[in-house]
């Protein structure tokens, strides 16, 4: 059984960003992602669309380098403008080689 240790990046964001963020994740080197609908509350309380308090939660399993790139872009470009929450945690992944682009 081969397990690779990768980084799991989780992003909570406004629904309007779904298309843009997932596009960027792939551009930065992610090989896939998983999206869920959520509701939530934070300090900014900014939400668009007709129903307040709704958001999305994106998960992507990536290599450490891709993780760095995503976290940097989040800090520099997403965070100042939008209501996003981003965190990283380690994950041991079955067939982790699949998530290395190339």
């Amino acid at each position: 059984m081969e397990l690779h240790t990768l980084t799991l990046i989780t992003i909570v964001a406004e629904p309007v960003l779904e298309e843009r963020l997932t596009r960027r994740l792939l551009e930065l080197g992610a090989t896939g992602y998983t999206v869920m609908d959520i509701r939530g509350r934070g300090t900014r309380g900014i939400r668009t669309g007709d129903i307040p308090g709704q958001g999305i939660r994106i998960e992507t399993l990536v290599t450490d380098e891709v993780a760095e790139a995503i976290l940097e872009e989040a800090t520099a470009s997403w965070f100042p403008h939008y209501a996003v929450v981003v965190w990283a945690s380690p994950a041991r992944v079955v067939r982790g080689d699949k998530y290395v682009e190339g």
């Binding site: 309007v16 309380g45 900014i46 668009t48 669309g49 007709d50 129903i51 307040p52 403008h81």
Partner: protein, 344 residues
């Protein structure tokens, strides 16, 4: 709706028959306040005010919106097919003009009188440059209650008024500053292929080309009691959403309140006048006035959010949804109707 009183008011005793314009404004207001639509909206606000956790399931709300827009498009398309296209050229032209000047007046007022920054001014102006389909439907329903005939092709004008205002306002915002995060092209695509356009314009086209007689097969689903009943449920939830914004009203201050009302009245009266000039009936001019007076809360918010992230979405949503929308459906529409009657 759509001038077909014969079919739509079969029982025809909604109001005691009385010659047009004879009802005093107070009576019209009262009847409008006691319409199921207004009352359902009020119930939704009430639910929020008493902190009820009640709300429609999200997908049900979206689903009702989809149904209403598609129904609107279909009916409009069926009516459009009955008209020679020449008839609508002038109304289309004045609608386009309204679509161009409304974001400009809104931006100017917000920037100069309101002292908002360029981002917020452009963001709110994008909402007031577009249009609210539910206000449009409420105006049609109101006029049906007043037994006032309207042009059947009005949904075409709704479709035309939807997007130009958004783009003009966003272009202003983009010109004024460099901090845009999304290209105008992608926003244009987003708005033109958004839910409202697909359903409204798509419905218009489907209705236009449908084989003669097939509308009768589905009219019982897309028109009449089902349409109005679904509208009540939709407004119940809109009340809940608007009620959620009421708290923000205090923070956003008196100016926004005044802006939401006065802008509606000015744009509304201009819309009525423009409609009459273009040869619309008093009913049609009333509807164009209501459209012109309305502000978007479905198409504009995501477009603004993507293009001008520094604009505060709470301001624009509060203004359009918690101020202008209720003002229009409660007071505005009867008012524009009176204005239309006075002007003719």
């Amino acid at each position: 709706m759509s001038g077909q009183e014969a079919t739509l008011l079969p029982a025809a005793d909604l109001l005691r028959p009385c010659p047009r314009g004879v009802l005093p404004l107070t009576e019209i207001l009262r009847l409008n306040l006691l319409s199921p639509i207004t009352l359902a909206f009020a119930l939704g606000i009430f639910a929020r005010v008493v902190k009820s956790e009640f709300s429609l399931p999200r997908q049900m709300y979206t689903g009702l919106g989809i149904y209403l827009l598609f129904a609107l498009g279909l009916k409009g398309g069926v009516e459009l097919a009955k008209e020679p296209l020449g008839v609508i050229i002038l109304p289309v032209a004045v609608t386009l003009v309204l679509g161009c000047i409304r974001p400009l007046t809104s931006y100017a007022v917000l920037r100069k009188l309101g002292g908002f920054n360029t981002d917020d001014s452009a963001g709110i102006a994008a909402h007031y440059g577009s249009v609210s389909a539910v206000t449009f439907i409420a105006a049609l329903t109101f006029l049906e209650g007043m037994r006032e005939p309207v042009e059947g092709y009005l949904p075409t004008l709704l479709a035309i008024l939807e997007s130009p205002g958004i783009h003009i306002a966003l272009a202003i915002g983009a010109l004024k500053q460099a901090d845009r995060t999304e290209s105008m092209g992608s926003v244009l695509h987003e708005v033109l292929t958004g839910r409202t356009m697909i359903l409204l314009v798509g419905g218009l086209v489907v209705g236009y080309f449908m084989a003669p007689g097939t509308w009768d097969q589905v009219a019982g689903f897309y028109d009449g009691a089902v349409f109005k009943g679904a509208l009540c449920l939709f407004l119940l939830e809109m009340g809940v959403v608007a009620g959620e914004r009421l708290g923000d009203l205090k923070e956003s201050g008196l100016f926004l309140l005044a802006f939401g009302v006065i802008m509606a009245v000015i744009h509304g009266v201009v819309g009525v006048g423009a409609g009459l000039l273009a040869g619309l009936s008093p009913g049609g001019a009333t509807v164009l006035g209501a459209m012109s007076a309305s502000a978007s809360y479905i198409a504009a918010p995501p477009a603004v959010r993507m293009t001008l992230p520094a604009a505060n979405p709470t301001l624009s949503l509060t203004a359009s949804l918690a101020i202008t929308f209720p003002f229009n459906i409660i007071f505005g529409i009867p008012l524009y109707y009176q204005v239309a009657l006075w002007m003719t």
